[in-house]
Amino acid sequence: QTVVTQEPSLSVSPGGTATLTCASSTGAVTSAYHPNWVQQKPGQAPRALIYSTNNKQSWTPARFSGSLLGGRAALTLSGVQPEDEADYYCLLYVGGAWVFGGGTKLTVL
């Protein structure tokens, strides 16, 4: 069964840049995996941020961007704000099934 791996945690200072990555046990992540990123704050439902590698939802702030980086999907936050503190999950489409990564807890301090 496919395993999708993310950094368990990341810390960043306000105004800084954070890059979260998402790797697949099947090999390099490509656009064919339709990488999606969702954000979840404590006590809230997840919220979609990025789909198909680098496409933003209409509500996604401009400081969020998606890409492919060194065989992984990546989510970059440029100019991090305190309200960006949350859990971030990537989601890959692998062999007809969706697989979530374990999530990255982003701390803004």
Binding site: H34, P46, Y89, A97, F100
Partner: protein, 121 residues
């Protein structure tokens, strides 16, 4: 954009059956895929399976195949997640979410507010 409203929290005993729902709105709901996602306390998200109400095409994660049943009623725009015999380990928050093929690829869009299921004797 699709609005998703899930049914309320449930408290059941192990062995009991349960069906929770996710009601959509908007003309496009039937043609979207509806995914069910589990989140156990303090843990991450797991895709359980998906259904497309338009034709009832249904896919299951191998981890959940045979453990739950996903269904949908197109006329009422409701998707369902059902257990025939709950286990204590089914205690979790369950979310529904829509996704469809945008011009650039598949994208998850809207999420329901979640349904908390507690299975305890």
């Amino acid at each position: 954009e699709v609005q998703l409203v899930q049914s309320g929290a449930e408290v059941k005993k192990p062995g009991e059956s349960l069906k929770i729902s996710c009601k959509g709105s908007g003309n496009s709901f039937a043609s979207y895929w509806i995914a069910w996602v589990r989140q156990t306390p303090g843990k991450g998200l797991e895709w359980m399976g998906s259904i497309r109400p338009d034709d009832s095409d249904t896919r299951y994660s191998p981890s959940f195949q045979g453990q739950v049943t996903i269904s949908a009623d197109k006329p009422t725009l409701i998707a369902y997640l059902q257990w025939n015999s709950l286990k204590a380990s089914d205690t979790a928050m369950y979310y529904c979410a829509t996704y469809y093929y945008h011009s650039a690829g598949y994208g998850f869009d809207d999420w329901g507010q979640g349904t908390l299921v507690t299975a305890s004797s």
